[in-house]
């Protein structure tokens, strides 16, 4: 793919990519921006290459997801000194959302779901992907993605019901 065409495609998907990066980083805007910048860098350097086996959006979202996972892993390791690595059961990351408006409550509810369930719900209900496409982004089988989708849906509905949202 020509670099200009590639840049145009990435630019067109930039807002959606940022929204997806936000969801992958627990709605931490600074981290999401860093993730997106790293994604663009890896594309520019040719480390991430689109081979046309899937839709461009699916491929880009998979790259964003992998980069976010790597960034979060690095943060997690940096935040924990080696002697505390295997002790305690702290929350993996603090919820950066403080304001308790409706959106924040939904994000909080989403934050209680396992990552895979959260991801599949975000991809299907916000990014309008099919479960098959979500499975490609998440690098799991369609069956696994479907399981996460159903469990996540039930759990989120239950949580939203409790909080009477929206």
């Amino acid at each position: 793919m020509a670099s200009v065409e590639l840049e145009q495609q990435i630019a067109a998907l930039h807002p959606a990519s940022f929204a997806w990066a936000l969801a992958c980083t627990g709605w931490n805007a600074a981290e999401a921006e860093e993730v997106l910048q790293s994604v663009y860098l890896s594309i520019l350097e040719g480390r991430a290459r689109f081979d046309g086996r899937s839709a461009f959006k699916t491929w880009l979202f998979a790259v964003v997801r992998n980069m976010a996972a790597r960034t979060l892993r690095r943060r997690w390791l940096e935040a924990r000194p080696p002697w505390r690595m295997f002790s305690g059961s702290e929350a993996d990351h603090a919820d950066p959302v403080v304001a308790e408006e409706r959106g924040a409550q939904v994000r909080r509810a989403l934050g209680t779901l396992p990552a895979r369930q959260r991801e599949v719900l975000d991809l299907v209900f916000f990014h309008e992907m099919t479960v098959e496409q979500a499975a490609e982004v998440m690098d799991v089988s369609t069956g696994t993605a479907r399981t996460h989708y159903h469990r996540g849906k039930l759990r989120l509905l239950e949580l939203l019901g409790k909080e009477d949202l929206p």
Binding site: F18, A19, A29, F125, K153, L160
Partner: protein, 120 residues
């Protein structure tokens, strides 16, 4: 409540969760330009590291293959003699440093067979 209602509810909830995303989204040009700058910096760093590695390798090769300086020949009459060296000289240094010769005829284990008769 039908599955369709549930899905609509989840869709609305997701939209709510992402409502502020647009305001927080950085401009594409800014993020792209930052990535390009990082690429240039990385490229420079990579070349610098490669250059330093190459220089180190060249220095190593030179150290291994450089011509060794030949040992300086000792010029006659220049051998240094310490002022107390004479103390190490003993009167019978030759006896102390050499073994006395053993006479094979005196050794009973290595006696020669008797010479045949008629020989001078």
């Amino acid at each position: 409540m039908t599955p369709g209602d549930d899905e609509a509810r989840l869709r609305a909830a997701m939209a709510e969760a992402h409502r502020e995303d647009a305001e927080r989204t950085p401009r594409f040009e800014v993020t792209w330009a930052a990535a390009q700058r990082s690429r240039q910096r990385r490229s420079i760093r990579r070349w610098a590291v490669a250059g330093a590695g190459l220089a180190a390798a060249a220095a190593g090769v030179w150290l291994v293959t450089r011509p060794k300086p030949s040992p300086t020949p000792l010029i006659l009459g220049t051998r240094w003699v310490g002022p107390t060296d004479f103390l190490l000289e003993t009167p019978d240094l030759m006896t102390l440093r050499t073994l006395p010769p053993v006479d094979p005829d005196a050794d009973p284990w290595t006696t020669r067979p008797p010479a045949p008769k008629g020989t001078p």
